[in-house]
């Protein structure tokens, strides 16, 4: 296991525990926690606080029949939801978003590929595959953007990001992430805005085209 140096900010973990994060961000945080023990511990501390809130909330009497209903149902057969295990570079929550199948990569040019996991009103999340030395495509910086490294590493003006590191970038961050030499870099990238374009021009070309 490599050392994770870029963690989820506490407010993000609190919002994830409380359940207010849009699904694309919730996926990025769930995947990060799967890789990062520090953030798992911080997340569990938030759950403990949630538990304390639950314990101290005013009670409401439940209907007379509810308890016997529940007791009668204890042995009722249930269809278990499938549990997706980690596969290669992809942690369980990412495998769940992939429905257990390998990513379906689409070329973006220059050897860069993407696989869109979801794209909707609450934002978008996709996998990016960046060959060594190539630039990470623009992630449509409308709002917040979370980038989790799953394989390889990249560097930008703010530092180096290796496996398990989570980069949190808002609109104000002007950066040009470049994949390091070695293994191709695979990232999970989540934004709270829908994708603006169907295909992306790698960032290196953007100054030329002024997109």
């Amino acid at each position: 296991m490599t050392t994770i140096t870029h963690h989820a900010p506490d407010a993000l973990l609190a919002a994830y525990a409380g359940g207010s994060l849009p699904k694309p961000f919730a996926l990025a945080v769930a995947a990060h926690i799967s890789l990062c023990l520090d953030c798992r511990a911080a997340y569990e501390a938030h759950l403990a606080t949630g538990g304390a809130v639950l314990e101290t909330t005013n009670s409401e009497a439940v209907s007379d029949g509810l308890k016997s209903n529940v007791l009668d149902l204890l042995d009722a057969p249930v269809t278990e939801k499938p549990v997706y295990q980690r596969s290669g570079a992809f942690p369980g929550p990412v495998m769940e978003a992939l429905k257990g199948k390998p990513p379906r990569w689409k070329s973006l040019g220059m050897g860069v590929r993407q696989s869109i996991l979801s794209d909707g009103r609450d934002g978008s999340v996709r996998l990016l595959y960046i060959p060594p030395g190539r630039a990470v495509p623009d992630h449509s910086h409308n709002g917040l953007e979370l980038t989790l490294v799953l394989q390889g590493s990249f560097r930008d003006e703010t530092g180096r990001f290796g496996v398990g590191d989570l980069e949190v970038a808002d609109q104000s961050l002007e950066h040009t992430p470049i994949a390091d030499e070695g293994a191709p870099c695979i990232c999970l990238a989540a934004t709270d805005a829908p994708l603006r374009f169907n295909s992306f021009v790698p960032r290196l070309l953007q100054p030329l085209f002024r997109i």
Binding site: A11, A15, G18, G19, A30, D38, L47, L66, V70
Partner: protein, 185 residues
Amino acid sequence: MKQSSAQISDLTAAMIAVRNDRDRDAFALLFDHFAPRLKGFIMRTGTGSGQAEEIVQDVMLTVWRKADQFDPERAQVSAWVYQITRNRQIDVIRKENKPLPEELGEDPSAEPDASQILAVEQEAGQLKGALARLKPDQREMIEKAYLGELTHQEISTQTGLPLGTIKSRIRLGLEKLRHELKELR
């Protein structure tokens, strides 16, 4: 169970009995404790009484079915039930499954260490005490955050939100996780 001079709480003991022995009386005790609290908690988000009871039923059935995932060395029963409840509420309200972290590879120990359980309970007790001592407006913000009513931007910009109080409580869970990681290596 390894002996310890202090007693672990009835709730934790009941949850362990449900997990290890499928003990229905112990489950009934958990139901009596949690069902009214859960209903009150769920109704605070604007859910009506009928739907709240449906969620209470789902949560309590999950407590029974997923009991093998409960690890008293890492979490208090209320924290574990809180997690199940928020996940279920989100699934019902948004009609989608909330992405969840992987479970840790190791199954919880069948013979948990009583001193570790007591330490977790003590920490949770301190947390409850800290919550009770907050000013009413601070407490309201904390409640809103854990009912999912604040965005992460709102949480990060709320100057009155004493998240620092919480952060100081994470030490134990973290040490336990580090310990488990060492054993896995």
